[in-house]
Amino acid sequence: MVWNKIKPSFWDKQEVVSGTSTYQHTYRRIWKLAVILTGGVSLIPLIFLSVVNYRAVQNAIESEYLFRTTRVVSNTRRAVSFFLTERKFALDFIVHDNGFKSLNNPERLSAILENLKRSFGGGFVDMGVVDASGYQEAYVGPYNLEGKDYSGQKWFRQVLESGMYISDVFLGYRKVPHLVIAVRGSSESGTAYVLRASLSIAPFEDLLSNLALAGSGDAFIINQEGILQTSTRYHGGVLQKLSLQVPEYSSKTRVFEEQGPRGRALIVGYRYIDETPFILMIVKDKRECMAPCFKVGLELIAFLLICITVILTVILGTATYMVKKIQVADEKRNASLHHVEYANKMASIGRLAASVAHEINNPLAIISEKAGLIKDLFTFKTDYVHDAKLIGLVDSVLGSVKRAGTITRRLLNFSRNLQASIEPINLKEAILEVLGFMGKESELRSIEITTEVAEDIPILETDRGKLQQIMLNLVNNAFAAVQDGGHIDIKANRKDRDHVSITITDDGCGIAEDDLGRIYEPFFSTKTGQGGTGLGLSITYGLVQEIGGSIQVESALEKGTRFTITIPIRLEKIKNERNKGVVG
């Protein structure tokens, strides 16, 4: 797995605390804390700001669109309204300017229509004069509508009542969508009549289709029943029912959002056009309107993602680096603590051993002298000289004293070895002395130890205690590695003029290749839980360096291990002085 390759070394490490309580995965915890805190502190405001910013942009664009829609609706309304009012007033003027009679004259009427068409441009299609009974008396235009009876129609009654009327768009007799503007006039005799003109919806459509509307915008007119009065681009043709609801009445321009057909959000602006049945509507696709906003959003998200990636990379990197540093520092501290602890321990053991030996030596001397005196008495006075039993007893006492003396001497030797001092050493004797400690175990486990010290090795001048400690540690390790009945081979050779090398070879379990690089690390142990402290080789390494030597290892799993130490024949004095201070 990738994770196993990239995970930092401290991930599964437990902090070694000199005590019973160990925090599990402390470094992981520190790392997580650092990452979460710094990440949180830097990312949360960033994300928050981005969201706020996006919202602000969205709101700005939205209100901009609403505002723009409102403006377009207002302007268009004014144009439409003006268009209708203009024509209405024109008719009104005609009614007042011409009498019923002259209007009834088809030539005159036709001339008026021509003039209207010329003055007002498109729009007017035909004109007719309807008398009070609803009978169309005169008509000019492309359709043959003279004599039509409008008396039953709603608009006719309404125009008689209110004097003016603008109709919805309808097909009527001619089957072409149009609208009617009618004004009431009164003849010389005082009877009412109606001048009606029909307008094609083309001018409206021109007007509306000329509006440049963003976002699939659609401008059209509906009546109050929701019937489309002009053709639209997306919402159906003339006289179809609009799929949207008819908005409620309002005297002002209003804009709202609505869920259109097919679930699309629409921006709808509308305005009731006064004195007409018309409602001007502008409908836009909100999504298209908001497209710039999405673009900004996308840019923002991209920027945000880049920022987050960079920040996270930096945070992860620094956190990992720092925690690694902490780990290394901790390990160093622990190692030196242990080293000091170890040195102190050995020093106190040394002092204890020395004082015990010394105190025992005095009574031993007394026993020795007294027993000697007894023996002397026997031999000099000749009374008991032939009493072999008594002499034997005294000799046994003296023998025991000698044995005790050997023990105390060894104790003293041990304590003296802990103090750094350079002395002449016969390497062979030193090695045999070390093996003497292991004699019992090798016998019990029938481990065969062979020693071969080259003849040309001179007397070394080095620190006996340290050299023996090194040998003892390495031999100990070899003992731990081999099976019962295994072999350990110790060889010493002169390497060059100033150095000797000592190799300790075993045919034990060997060291895995992956571990080889780490065996000198403090606390590196494959025997954790079996009493291994992981300090042995680390201390050995330190000791070898202290006596100016070097140590190498070769190993193959299940084949065995070979340690080679190379030490100088003469150890420099300065080094020794310095170390003395450390131990003392």
Partner: protein, 147 residues
């Protein structure tokens, strides 16, 4: 003439036994239980060899040695040590002690060392005597001078 030996050690039992054993071997053994007493005895009497324990309460072996070499420079000293103080014994030898022994020591060894030390002293004294004789022969008045 018996070899005169002064035994200095704070362990009375040890000194007593050793003195007795040396007496049996035909030495003139005197004991002393402290450094101060030993110096006092040295002032009063002449000894051939002093067996001196390094570690004693009060005046220790090295100090006694230093003092002794002022009073009786010709008297030979054998340092006796409980090994932990081998260094001070070696120090003592640098200051003119003849040899050192580790406790508990073999009597034979001690006797041998005493004899050798005495031989050395005797030889030394003999040379001085010879020198004196020569001086007297060359200038008889010298015999009248104080030693």
């Amino acid at each position: 003439m018996k070899i005169r030996v002064l035994l200095v050690d704070d362990e009375e039992e040890f000194v007593q036994a050793l003195a007795e054993r040396l007496s049996m071997r035909d030495y003139d053994a005197t004991t002393s239980l402290s450094g101060e007493d030993a110096v006092e005895k040295l002032r009063q009497y002449n000894f051939d060899v002093v067996i001196l324990d390094v570690r004693m309460p009060g005046m220790d072996g090295t100090e006694v040695l230093r003092e002794m070499k002022k009073i009786k420079p010709l008297t030979e000293v054998i340092m006796l040590t409980g090994h932990a103080t081998v260094e001070s014994a070696i120090d003592g030898m640098r200051q003119g002690a003849y040899d050192y022994l580790m406790k508990p020591c073999k009597t034979e060894e001690l006797v041998e060392k005493i004899n050798k030390a005495h031989e050395k002293k005797a030889e030394h004294e003999a040379r001085i005597r010879d020198a004196k004789v020569k001086e007297i022969i060359s200038s008889p008045q010298a015999a009248l001078r104080e030693d």
